[in-house]
Subunit: 353 residues, 5 copies
């Protein structure tokens, strides 16, 4: 049985409703961790039993079920049954090429979003995170281990900040917030990358420059596609249209919303700058062409007429009286020098030199 395919269209070939992982395999085994906490304490259970999971929603604590790795489809199916998730939700969880979104189902909210990171400072890598937020529990699905989520797990362990005192909605907020915080770093590096390209364009444009501009453009597109839908997603959470988001948590979602807007703003500004870069490059290249042509024209314009003169007096006609004259040579040299000087003066007046 096929569990993993690499593109959505391959999946489309399979009968609908088949659960298939669409994407890369990043971990050996799918790991499930359950973190149960309340203001008084917390507990971590690796590979929780079905019974343990059954208590997640009811036991008065906040339960975070963290799933890392998606290719073992059976795990997702089991969790789906346990938490009564719609089959479309399970399909979306396993499809890592999904667009960020929020869907409201009876009893739970389903969220998809992306995190980004630079690899070698040149390539952007995207990872998808899906969240199911129910009454008293959050189930998160990661493609591979994500250090930002580890940090939140640690925060719960240490009981630092207000996370232990708040509900499952705050946990969902914290996970979303950590993803958005990651964007700031990614954009900073991106801004630097654009400045590098900018400098190249203005200072020493070359054949590789065009490809570099094209690459940053494509990267800005994928960033944009990841962030734009979030605006709507978080906007919906912030307006508190779902009962699962409490009033005192909504204020925090408003804050993430602000960050999203600010990130979108930055992306648009960077895109705006990039949009002009190719034109700047073209102008730079044209400027350089002008420089080159000026040099060529100056040289050619001075020497071609002079060469004509030398050719003229190099003709072998028997009867060319000038050739015999005593002062012909110095006079011709003088005339040539004069013509060259005149040309140079003209170029100077036209500001070509």
């Amino acid at each position: 049985m096929i569990d993993t395919v690499s593109t959505v269209s391959e999946k489309a070939a399979l009968p609908p409703g088949t659960l298939v992982h669409v994407g890369e395999i990043l971990v050996d085994h799918t790991r499930v961790t359950m973190i149960d906490y309340n203001p008084e304490g917390y507990e971590v259970v690796e590979d929780p039993s079905d019974d343990r999971l059954a208590q997640a929603a009811d036991n008065g604590t906040v339960s975070w079920i963290r799933v890392v790795g998606l290719h073992e489809v059976e795990v997702t199916r089991r969790l789906g049954e346990r938490f009564d998730l719609h089959s479309l939700v399970l399909e979306d969880i396993l499809n890592t090429q999904h667009r960020p979104k929020v869907d409201e189902y009876p009893g739970y909210l389903f969220l998809v979003f992306k995190t980004f990171a630079w690899e070698d400072g040149e390539t952007l890598r995207a990872r998808q995170i899906s969240l199911v937020l129910g009454q008293g529990y959050v189930v998160s699905f990661e493609e591979g281990p994500d250090s930002a989520l580890d940090a939140i797990q640690e925060r719960i362990a240490r009981g630092r900040g207000r996370i232990r005192r708040m509900g499952a909605d705050y946990l969902a907020y914290a996970l979303l917030d950590t993803a958005m915080d990651g964007f700031f770093g990614v954009l900073e590096r991106f801004g630097e990358r654009i400045e590098e390209v900018e400098e190249e364009v203005l200072e020493h444009p070359g054949p590789r420059t065009v490809a570099a501009i094209h690459q940053v453009k494509r990267q800005s597109l994928s960033l944009r596609r990841a962030v734009w839908p979030l605006r709507e997603v978080i906007g919906l959470l912030q307006r508190g249209e779902s009962e699962l988001v409490g009033d005192n948590t909504r204020i925090y979602f408003r804050d993430v919303y602000d960050h999203t807007i600010q990130i979108m703003d930055s992306i648009e500004s960077l895109r705006d700058i990039m949009a002009g870069l190719l034109d700047v490059h073209l102008s730079s290249v044209s400027n350089r062409l002008n420089q080159i042509m000026k040099v060529l024209t100056i040289i050619a314009t001075i020497f071609i007429p002079l060469t004509f003169v030398t050719g003229f007096y190099g003709m072998n006609f028997k009867h060319m009286p000038e050739l015999e004259w005593k002062w012909a040579y110095p006079v011709v040299v003088g005339i040539m020098a004069g013509a060259a000087a005149l040309m140079l003066a003209m170029f100077r007046r036209r500001k070509w030199m």
Copy 2:
């Protein structure tokens, strides 16, 4: 009597209300198939009689009347009478150059959408599908046989998935969904096509490149025109504004809606990439022109002055004392070598070499 014309304007010349097929003829005979099913069983009737059709709406099963081939206008007219369709609906069914849309009529919904496929990996082919969704029945009209719809017929036959357990609205969803799934494959190939053109632009732009860019642009336009209206169409179905779409099916329409948004997103991204390609091409070409001009200028700037010097000492004046001097020749050669070296050094400093 004319049954088929090839453009909308030819149709406009005919008296209004005339039923005419606008488009190509893709099958020999119009085929009508009726598929009746419920959770317990199913039945396929080829060329159902009028009586049989009359039972479609009332008999407690879901009836799918599938019409393949549109040029036998009489068939459409008969079905129109049987299911009490408005004459405007019939006109729209037969006009295969219609824009995707949904119209609500008393007792039924009318949907038009397009499917796409690549022919020879370079040309896009569009086909139109019209659906009439009534209480307990769906009538579908195809220009020619469509393998994706065949697959659904087979799914019903095998009783796989939930299709047999759901109503006519789910059948309409399944037909729409299969069309949208087809788009993913089309877009993947389209993305590859653009990458081929991109590489051509960056690596070895030539006169044919411009035409290739122009072609993908036009293709993106026709894809876009097919998908954009769907957003509105499916959005309307998803919001459940019609009684014909039940609450438990609406969730599936929301899923197709998501896919539509994702497809639109991809198209816009591809368009965004393409938008820049012509500029990239222009920049590449300008870069190459610069390279060529540098070579020309270097050669000309070095040799034209030197040729002047050789011409100078090729003049035939009687009185040119230098010509007689013993060391004149080596000195002049030295001066020429020096000038050439100087030029080369200057070019190197300007980074032309």
Copy 3:
């Protein structure tokens, strides 16, 4: 007294409220025809008397008063009094440079729209049609005789289709629909025109190409200006916000609305294609420049150095030992041939040849 001026600003110079025809005079005499019809029969009255006109609204039939030619301002004024039209409506009817619109007045609707036709396949000609739709009557104003409206008159005469069985609102629909149908043909020719220009751009761009691109751009603009406002106009009628449009006619207005959207779509697509044409042209021209420059550079780079060599051995120095050597000539010729071969090899490696 002035009855006709050619631009709006000339009219602005006249005292406000003055009725003046703004536009060209296309017919000798303004002709008024009244067509009275109901399912049972119909009657045509040329130049109806005031009494006859007075019955238009009340006599239980649908009355179509058709005015062809606008420069006899008195006719419009008389009809205005008869049907109790606001003076602003009369001003708008006579101003043929008006933007398409719909205005609701107590007791009647006032519509303005445009029809287009090609003249000599290159020039677009626009005509304005104004409609007043009241209870039981339609008054239409044309600049000159319009064959599409003649066709509707004939349809009424022959009693074909549903027109005779429907009310005045359906007549208004039929007039609007016939105008929109005309657009399809206009756009088809326009699409061909653009394809001609496209081919010219890609295959043999020349100085005239730029002007041709510019011309189609302007034409697309005037088409667009005529169609965009119609969307709003027909949208309003389709939503049935006026009592003058009955429920069973609204469905037909929805159909025209669809056509309008489709026409707008086509125009936007054509504009999108055109938008790129100038860039494509620039790229083509640059490509050609590159070709030319390559030829020049190849020739110059091969022969300029060789010419220097010939000049070198053409110098007249007394003491040039090489000149005396027996094998000097063949050696020099060999060196020159070698240099040329080297150059050619280099050009081939750079793919310039």
Copy 4:
């Protein structure tokens, strides 16, 4: 005490609430004229006393207080007190660099708009007009005397049209309408100007062309900035959201609204045409460059190789057997002629000639 500054930022340096005229001084003395009228008669009072002004609102007639010239700030302050205007209104009246707008204050409406005129057919001149529309009175403020407003005053005097029979709201309409009518003339001249530039671009583009294109672009910007806000302003009046605009006057405001939309439409079309002009120019210039380069390449490609041949047989080697041959000369000449003919044929095939 300072009464007039020339820029908003100079004003910002003064304490807020200070009444200062921002703009040019166009008349020697600020003139106040009061025109009182009703259907029966009218009266003009120059420099009306405070008592006279106090009757403006109450005396059953329509009173138009017309202020021409803004630099005598005291006049505006006095009128402000008399009509109980908010200090922000007074500040806005005096600031002639304000954006068109409408503000509703208790008891009166405050309107700002612009009129335009051509100076020497090349430069656009803008003037600001502010209106205060109260119950039974209008106060208008002009920078300098405006002939269009004089025309309205005359219309009142002659009792022509419906102005004397209508209220203060109609007077406000008439003033606004006259400004919009002026735009039509301005736009006609602007359209001609653009056509001049267009022809220059297509027929004989030169260095000045770029500057001309840039100038019309800037002018279109200032026109646009003056008209766009008016849409909102008049839209508000037309919807009749203020009690000060009566129902039978609203229909006239709808008419001005239509004109505004039409003017906006024209501006956008002109902008659309202009937007492409620079690209058209670039294409034209590139075409010309191609022409020039073809000439150069043809000449160089034909003569450079031939010159090499002549140089070759101009070498002074002792042992060059060809030089002695009898038929060498005619043979070489023949070869040269053949090579030239070959080149020319090639150019013809490439369509360079």
Copy 5:
């Protein structure tokens, strides 16, 4: 303990909820000033005690607590406790890279906005100001001392204008208004800067021009990012959706709103002008290239053929009968002069000279 970091992403690395100043340190010590005033008098307290601050909201006067310098985080935390501010508000106050916004919290409004100033007439410097507007008090946070705010403090001291007679909402207005007024000056200088660049582009475009265009573009972006969000912010205040803004103050916020729209308008116009500058530059450069190429082509086209002729008669063939002819020399010279004249005439006809 870290109090200050320089980028948002550094802050993201710290545990959430940590109060950190993000930005530059502009003053040595954070200074807190409390200004208490009512129509009768006013009082200034430097470094007010906690007790004094506690009275701010209740004592019947308007209290303005002005904080200058943000790096001493403890001060902000203390004020946060005193005025019961949400921890997210405190984080936003300390993050000087925040986007302008307004947030409504129970009991107070939180505003962030930016002021701009030119440094050396070439570089734009942005400063952030945060305001907390409560019942009877305003707390303002500045990065460094701001002279515009000093001016307001002085206005309160002198009791000039209406500020002393109005409430805390008017004070918030005054602070916002002073920031917007600053924009007018900034934009004026910016407009001049753009005109300088424009002139450079049109009169003497050079390699540095491209960089200058790029710089003004970036500056316009940062201005835009600072102003656009303000529209929404002030729009919200103006509509009076918060109880903290009284009815008689709302009219003033409407005025600031107008200014914001006007500033946005100016920025968009300037951006529109700039958008074309690079194209104008490219056109200018192309024009110049044409000029250069014309000179080169004229020189080359005249002299290259002539040089060929001289080379021709410089060949050393034994048997060249022309060389012996008596009139050969003058005839050849004549032919050469004729050819040159012909060329010149041709250039003149093509308008190249």
